[in-house]
Amino acid sequence: MSITSFLKSTLTALALVTGGSLFAQGTPINAAAFDALVAQGPVASADAIAASTWASKIKQAGTLRLGGTQTSNLFSLLNEKDNRLRGFDAGLAQLITRYILGDAAKFQFTQVTSSTREQVLINDQVDMVLATYSITPARAEKISFAGPYYTSQAGVLVKANNKTIQSYNDLAGKKAATQAGSTGPAILAQFAPKAIVQEFQTHQEALDALRQGRVDAYVTDHTLLLNALSLGSGDAKLAGAPFGAQDPYGIGLPKGSDGVAFINAFLKQLQADGTWAKLWTISIGQRTGNTDVPTPPALP
């Protein structure tokens, strides 16, 4: 076929000219350190599990049904070569899996998006959802949250050559992307009510929309934006400092589940023995050039 032969010769030519692929896709996660950290997490005693119906059910089933994402660079990314999920959210999920089942790999993964996160818990398709899931009162009516395990303010991302938007104050009349079902729409309604909002199902789609010029700005959690910058393509920048209330990320659980108390106790343990800080450093800190570990949020 003429197309493939043309492409092949063009590829070869380009490879010769550019000296092969030198592009750095941000700093990849230190896989060895991540795998080691998750493998030496604590395992719960039989009593602790028996005290929680949620945990006992999982133990009996032999596998934890996890709702998360596979396409979030800092928080949970699937490496299709070794089939391992790595990131901050992924690490927490695997530590919880190991805590209950003794093996961090015994989870069954389901990809969720902003609009399916609550429904999969209501439908009993998953046991818990760990997917940069902000705790809001509206959501807390349908499901229960454990945590918070992380907090982040909102930020505004624009293209590097954008001179008109310096902060969220300049978004009036501009097209702003945000994730559907996240706190983004509410934040935009409060801080930039005159912006034209476009909602996307995933973080990746919103980033692509900004890169492709469909929107002028992307408003979402500051950490996710640092993620975008860490990919180092150099054509985006933050407009202004993080703003708004501290957005707490929680772990979604079925409504009224006693897994909340169970996981909160475990999260306290992770904060106390430094695992939280180590996980943050490996998955976020080292990849965004940040060395000050933030203090983990206070647990109820």
Partner: protein, 220 residues
Amino acid sequence: MDEVARLLTDYGPAFGQALFLTWKLTLVSFVPGFVLGVVVTVLRLFPLPPLRWALTLYVEVFRNIPGVALLIFIVFALPDLNVLIDYEHSVILTLALICSAFTADYLRTGINTVAGGQIEAALSLGMRPLRVIVSVVLPQALRAVVQPMTSLLIALMLSTSLASQVPLPGRELTALVSKIATDSAAGMAAFALAAAMYVVTGLLIGWAGAALEKKLRILR
């Protein structure tokens, strides 16, 4: 029943707009898709191997590609090739391309029903091949495929539900049901109402198509 009443008071206008958007997307995609399909069919008749080969590839690709895959490609991948199409036009383009491929297919079958004697007679009258195709073959072929084209139009109307997968400025019926079901408890009523609207629209198109076919049918 009062759930339906409540639904209508809360979302009545939204349903009206959604139905209108569904009809609009259907019509605006069908017309260019149909015309394109006719053009492709006619061009495929000419004895030019490269053209036939390319158009056969076109028809096979757009007959077999899933609508979602094509829409996602147009909306998310084309901008990386510096082709930025806004959402509504992306949906219309997707539907029109797929419609054109199926039209080309059905019309080809319709052309096969035209008797060979017609062509030979037209040629012996001194008509050029293109004139024969346009004046003798196509009118009869089109009249023969009213029924499959009606089915295609109904399928196209149902396919407008694809539009719920991109952030359109307006909401069509499926997107509206999805929103109501997520935000409130009136999901069942919303689903029933939207299903009724789709079914009725389909039946109307079907009846119109049957009436048209009866008028245009060539009795042999």
